[in-house]
């Protein structure tokens, strides 16, 4: 069964700082990888996803993530955060033909103006 680890559950940073959130997965095969964001009081929204091809994936709102197969990682980055990026960020994984998404425990990110 697949599992996902996210580290540094609580992240506090100032506006304009760079953000990197780690995501490591455990799955013995081809994977599909996702980052979702949950703004306070709202539902989950897809930030970006990786299925195949270029391991550097660009998503909405200036976010990007890099799939490194050898490290089983899919880290999320944003070079300069804004106050509106305050949210919970979830990494998720599943395998081909398997829609059972396994989520990490999330990173709570607070951006101080």
């Amino acid at each position: 069964a697949q599992s996902v680890s996210q580290h540094n559950h609580h992240v506090i940073l100032s506006e304009a700082a760079s953000l990197e959130l780690g995501c490591n997965y455990s799955y013995g095969g081809t994977v599909n990888l996702f980052w979702y964001v949950q703004y306070p009081g709202q539902h989950l929204q897809l930030l970006l996803k990786y299925f195949s091809g270029d391991p550097l994936v660009k998503g909405i709102k200036g976010f990007e993530a890099e799939f490194i197969k050898s490290k089983f990682s899919f880290n999320l980055r944003k070079p300069s955060v804004q106050w509106s990026d305050t949210a919970e960020y979830f990494c998720a994984v599943n395998g081909p033909g398997n829609n059972r998404l396994a989520f990490g425990k999330g990173n709570q990110v607070v951006v101080i103006p």
Binding site: N32, F34, Y36, Q38, Q42, H43, L44, Q45, L46, K49, F51, E88, F90, N94, G95, P96, G97, N98, N99, R100, L101, F103, K105, G106, Q108
Partner: protein, 114 residues
């Protein structure tokens, strides 16, 4: 025009009661899901239906019973509610049941059992 909608948004009830949460999607998707998000924000899948047929049934107490009257609706009925059922329940849908499909989430139903 909401893509995935849930009702009610908030639900406060007593232990032992039976309650239902409704979910509807207007995206024309074939597959729908129920997830539970606990107090620590951990999200775990409960059920998935593809074209009204149950395809995922995780280890969930049988007090929880999903029902899909058509592929645009997936309701969740909970019998004999317990304190531990307090959580946020998210409905989601995807075009199909393949692994690469993006899942679109509803706004969540915040259930509090007293």
């Amino acid at each position: 025009d909401t893509a995935v909608s849930q009702t009610p948004k908030y639900l406060v009830t007593q232990m032992g009661n039976d309650k239902s949460i409704k979910c509807e999607q207007n995206l024309g998707h074939d597959t729908m899901y129920w997830y539970k998000q606990d107090s620590k924000k951990f999200l775990k899948i409960m059920f998935s239906y593809n074209n009204k047929e149950l395809i995922i049934n995780e280890t969930v107490p049988n007090r929880f019973s999903p029902k899909s009257p058509d592929k645009a609706h997936l309701n969740l009925h909970i019998n004999s509610l317990e304190l531990g059922d307090s959580a946020v329940y998210f409905c989601a849908s995807s075009q199909a049941s393949g692994g690469g499909e993006t899942q679109y989430f509803g706004p969540g139903t915040r259930l509090l059992v007293l």
